[in-house]
Amino acid sequence: MGDIPPDLLQFAGSLGAILLLAGIAWSLKLGPRRRLDSDDEAREAGAEALDGFVPIAVARDRDGEAALLRDDEGRILLLRQHGSHFAGRLLGDTASARIEDGALIVDSGERRYGVVRLAIDQPEAWRDAIARL
């Protein structure tokens, strides 16, 4: 051990402690996934993602993992699960949507936010609305 630089030893110890703490968080099952079990919950999550966003139409994924919300200005907000919270994106002209196996696949156009799959009613209407953005 005498040959190992102290800084490297400290780094290794800290890394070990980090992995241990993250492992404990996993084993305690912390961070339950939040689901959108109702349209009201989707509205609330939408307002959290974009303050003042008041949807007039909501399409909620059947598993409650994502939702699309449209306001009276035609703006469309995409919500998807992010750990025990939701992260949203107001879709713009770089967004696109397609239908696969009856589900709507929405590409936010932002690589790190990614593509979201929504099992919803009337996916064609939402696909067309996104195409018009």
């Binding site: 800290s14 402690a17 980090i18 996993w26 305690l28 912390l30 750990g83």
Partner: protein, 316 residues
Amino acid sequence: MPDFSPTELAVPGFVALVLIEMIWAWRKRREAYEPRDTLTSLAFGLGSTVAGLLTGGLFLALFLWAWQFRLFDIGWSWWAFALCFVLDDLAYYWVHRFGHRVRWFWASHVNHHSSQHYNLSTALRQTWTGFLTLGFAFKLPLVLIGFHPGMIAICAGFNLIYQFWIHTEAIHRMPRWFEAVMNTPSHHRVHHATNPRYLDRNYAGVFIIWDRLFGTFEAERDDEKIRYGIVKQLGSFNLIWAVFHEWIGIAEDVRRAPWRHKLSYLLREPGWSHDGSRQTSDQIRADWIARSPAANKVAANKVAVENAIAETGKPT
């Protein structure tokens, strides 16, 4: 100069307290922690210590060089430490305020705010790119007054240690006298909130009196649920993206912007855009007030001008 780093000595305490808070979360509020978020935050902390090792010596050398031009010879007495601690905290307030109001500084400080959780692991979510900003310049006056750079470093270390315990939802309020003078979990929850009422408030490190003095204080309300994170949530646990996303955003904005607006993407506040396509915290707050004028009248009266550069003109 003493070879003493309080933050290094405090690391085992940080680990133990995170563990205790996790057990609290397991019993009371399981959503207070998310394992991937925790891993990202702690990796931020480890990376920031490496960045500190690589760049800290440079800043210390710069401070030691500047110290030769000091006005007074302030020794290593107890009162000098106490005064240095208070003045260092004042400098921290302004570094922190600039960290929120100038995008160049925000690109580094945003790392500390990008978690949607608020727990002790969030406290360790420290930047890797602080050396790219001019934060150190705010502490140069202390060196020039005559405080030894080593003393300033020790005070800054204790300041950072103090700020660790306030990153928690496990403590509701401290005694009234304490809330009046010191930064507390309640005050700092406000600082990490994205609710329009709370945006860019409570910059204090140790003493909340700076916010009360400079008009940026906002008390936590029990009737308003706090949303943590940043206005445009990351939506990713990718560590590297989390570290550099705002720097990449600045680079893209500067590249796309007309020449006369390029510098503004560095010097104006986060959210500013030359075409008005985004919103600053002031604009978000103004919209919120406009939506509910009666309820938010008090908040409207408290809005402060915080970035003189931004106030000189409207987006064109």
